[in-house]
Amino acid sequence: MVLQILIVAVTLVCAFQALRARRLLISALWLAGTSALVALMIYLLGAPEVAVVELSVGAGLVTILFVFAINIAGEETLPAHSLIPRPLSWGLVIVSVLLLGWFTLPRLLPVFPAPDSTPFSQVVWEQRGLDMLLQVALIFTGVLGVVGLLVDHRKPSHAPEGHPDGNGLAQTWEEK
């Protein structure tokens, strides 16, 4: 019980620090800590398979991607004021969290039935087979999207100086 309270408190602190940190790299590291603690909570809930995936993908792969992107894009300090006034955003957050709690809490207080003994692999591959197809499609979409986005559309600068359209040699020949 005390362990769970401690994990939840540290998770929320990590999540808040990830947003408060001025440097993007520090923010990515706080996010990795949040992911690792969420994975620990999931493991304590009795779901070790997803905990391992969350730890390796959420805390590992995504953090590496963040560091890679920050290295390419560079650090940038933006003005502290946000587009939406802070009191308004706090109000919106409190209202949305209260609404979420209001709608979910009655459904979260049930029953505790006997645990289902269906194995994880059977659930994933037989009952939720469509989800697996969707995941494969999502991964391909993501790869194609990233390849399309990261390609540099600027023309290569092989043309001689003063003739950026690449006809430098032909024009020089005509001038002669």
């Binding site: 992107a69 933006l78 207080l109 991964i139 979409t141 990233v146």
Partner: protein, 103 residues
């Protein structure tokens, strides 16, 4: 799972979703927006596994959480690639630079 642990989990889920939503509202940096989205999805992930665990169908919850992890990773990758391209073309990561209609 006892009722007190359930309360702690609900606090964790609501806290993570609230922090993520707050970050989405106040962040101007596009990479920070992706970070906020990740935090929000962590809350949803925890809610899915907790709901499955409470209903005695933890493997169903795990299966759905797996789909959410994959979708979340793809969203993060595409968001970061967008941030890199925005930095190349606009020279900044400020999302206000994208609103060309206000100029």
């Amino acid at each position: 799972m006892s009722l007190s642990i359930l309360r702690i989990l609900v606090i964790a889920v609501l806290g993570l979703v609230g922090v993520g939503f707050y970050g989405l509202l106040i962040s101007r940096n596009l990479i920070k927006v992706v970070v906020a989205l990740q935090i929000l999805v962590k809350g949803v992930l925890l809610a899915l596994v907790a709901a499955g665990s409470m209903q005695g169908q933890v493997n169903l919850g795990q299966s759905m959480a797996l789909t959410v992890i994959v979708a979340d990773t793809v969203v993060a990758v595409v968001g970061l690639a967008l941030a890199v391209q925005m930095r190349r073309h606009c020279g900044t990561l400020d999302i206000q630079a994208l609103t060309s209609l206000r100029r």
